[in-house]
């Protein structure tokens, strides 16, 4: 078997292992999708009326705000699942079976690839639930079938990048608790971008950060695909950020995995 087909076969095996874990341990998945839904309800029903009135260019209160905030919530659920992956990766590394994998003639990174692929599937399902809830609340996206596919593509791309990063964070953490705390900034990045309010409404320094941080172009791309706002070069910038984060996360995770396991 060639190295590539070996890597594919082993990664598929590890993916099946991870999907079985999700089925056996569903509470984690439920928790990960619950958090963004709570934020969606909170922001739409508690803050949405007022925030909707204040949006530049749109007025229409709660309904307008629901349209505005949904892309940010989608990204938040991607980040939440990525955080869950850091926890699962850290937990997995404490299991004796990882030592067994290391002494077997299998594709070296396949354990990690299994985590990332499973997280991508988990993310797409979780985003589907979140979008479903948003639609129930009255979210009416204007996206065509092709645009919906593009949304799925963007979500998969971001999930791929973020989970490689959080797998590395899970491996670098000494404890499962640390692994759960380290990716927390990812959950808050949509707030410090265009996720909840337009960046133009922020003070100078914060606005500068919000406009240049990676989540803003991603949110703008999702927003454009779903509600027809201007995308421009945000799609290209998002892709570049994701490629960079994925590469960094992959190389870091692989390096960490190849260390001598601590005794």
């Amino acid at each position: 078997m060639s190295a590539v087909s070996l890597a594919l076969t082993d990664s598929a095996t590890m993916l099946r292992r991870r999907l079985r874990h999700f089925i056996r341990y569903p509470s984690m998945s439920v928790q990960l999708v619950g958090m963004p839904i709570i934020f969606l309800l909170l922001f739409v029903y508690v803050f949405g009326g007022t925030l909707g009135e204040g949006l530049t260019g749109v007025s229409g209160g709660r309904d307008a705000y629901l349209d505005y905030v949904t892309p940010g919530i989608i990204l938040m659920s991607v980040a939440a699942t990525a955080q869950g992956t850091a926890i699962s990766a850290a937990m997995d590394m404490t299991e004796g079976i990882i030592a067994r994998f290391r002494t077997m003639a299998i594709s070296r990174a396949s354990v990690l690839t299994g985590h990332v692929l499973a997280a991508m599937i988990q993310t797409l399902l979780s985003v589907a639930v979140v979008v479903g809830v948003a639609v129930l609340l009255g979210f009416r996206p204007s996206a065509s079938v092709v645009e919906w596919l593009a949304v799925a593509g963007v979500v998969a791309m971001v999930a791929f990048a973020l989970t490689w990063l959080t797998v590395a964070l899970g491996l670098v953490s000494d404890t499962v608790e640390a692994a759960s705390n380290m990716p927390l900034p990812l959950i808050f990045l949509p707030f410090l971008g265009s996720g909840f309010v337009p960046t133009e409404s922020m003070p100078a320094g914060l606005r500068w950060f919000a406009e240049y941080q990676p989540f803003t172009p991603i949110i703008e791309t999702l927003r454009g695909l779903l509600t027809g706002t201007h995308i421009g070069n945000d799609a290209a910038i998002s892709a570049a950020w994701c490629a960079g984060i994925a590469l960094l996360g992959y190389l870091w995770a692989k390096k960490l995995y190849n260390r001598d396991p601590s005794r």
Partner: protein, 312 residues
């Protein structure tokens, strides 16, 4: 003799602590080799290095002829490892764990299922096959662990303290399994803290202490180095003790307890010979007990000090 494992000058330190200080080991194909030593002697480290889990600081290591450093993948293809700590996936069922191994060994779907079913049967886990491994008892988990190691039929099997923490019945069952493996031509590298276990199973034993091999040989050779085994006979009165002490000239007497310590390796033949002799001379005995040499005797004799329990 074909060498399954050949190690020369293996060294490993963790920080300032030297764990393995240039050890040499040779294991013949199709035999059981036992690395015997107390906690903290470096047994687990040796297994971790030989099984490619961690790297050595120096030394030449060949497993099934493959260089441990230059071709770890070839080593991995030849070996199976059951570590000291349970290496089963606790969220999967026993059967799923075995099929996972079969998939990773690229056995193919049908062959993987067949082998999984066969191993569940062989390891007395057929009824528990569809239960999640996290619900297994310690003995069941250990059996599943070993069964997973055997998927793909590795030629060399590392067992790191396979019976530590098992009850006597499970321990005997494990011994039986290990004997069957070797009967099938597999080479077994086994670590243990129990002299009895090494004696039961091993063709050759190496005693590891403080990072060095302090003795090596067959169980019989090793036990000759350890004169700790004896039969202790207590007598009813001092006269009987006097007579017996003359007959068993090589014995040590304990006048206060009216007892003799007669050197013996504790096997039935020598015990019977001794009893026959006592009977011929019509010596009355009160009590008799057999002391087989244990790891404490080995260490006392080989290192001149009691064994130390240092934790990893």
């Amino acid at each position: 003799m074909t060498e399954a494992i050949a190690v020369r000058g293996l060294r490993k330190s963790f920080g300032d602590k030297v764990v393995l200080d240039g050890i040499d080991l040779t294991v013949a194909e199709g035999t059981i080799f036992s690395l015997l030593g107390p906690n903290g002697a470096g047994k687990t480290t040796a297994v971790q290095i030989l099984s490619t889990l961690i790297t050595a600081d120096g030394g030449d290591i060949r497993v099934e002829g493959h260089d441990r450093v230059r071709d770890p993948e070839a080593v991995r293809r030849a070996i199976g490892v059951t570590g000291q700590f349970s290496a089963v996936d606790r969220l999967l069922t026993g059967e799923e764990n075995l099929i996972l191994m079969a998939d990773l060994r690229h056995l193919g779907r049908r062959e993987g299922r067949r082998r999984a079913a066969e191993l569940l049967e062989q390891f007395d886990l057929a009824d528990a096959g569809t239960k999640i491994a996290g619900t297994y008892s310690g003995g069941m988990r250990r059996r599943l662990d070993l069964a997973m190691t055997l998927v793909g039929d590795p030629r060399i099997i590392f067992l790191d303290e396979p019976t530590t923490g098992l009850d006597p019945r499970s321990r005997r069952a494990m011994w039986e399994i290990i004997r069957q493996l070797v009967a099938g031509g597999v080479t077994v590298f086994l670590t243990t803290q129990y002299l009895e276990e090494a004696d039961e199973l091993a063709d050759r034993i190496a005693v590891l202490d403080n990072g060095g091999i302090v003795a090596e040989g067959t169980p019989a050779e090793l036990k000759r180095l350890v004169p700790g085994g004896h039969i202790r006979v207590q007598f009813t009165d001092p006269e009987q003790l006097d007579i017996a002490a003359k007959i068993f000239a090589e014995s040590a007497r304990d006048d206060e307890a009216l007892a003799l310590q007669i050197p013996s390796d504790g096997d039935v033949a020598s015990l019977k010979a001794m009893l026959d002799r006592l009977e011929r001379e019509s010596i009355e005995t009160a009590e008799l007990s057999i002391h087989t040499p244990d790891l404490d005797d080995v260490f006392l004799n080989l290192t001149g000090r009691p064994r130390t329990e240092t934790e990893n």
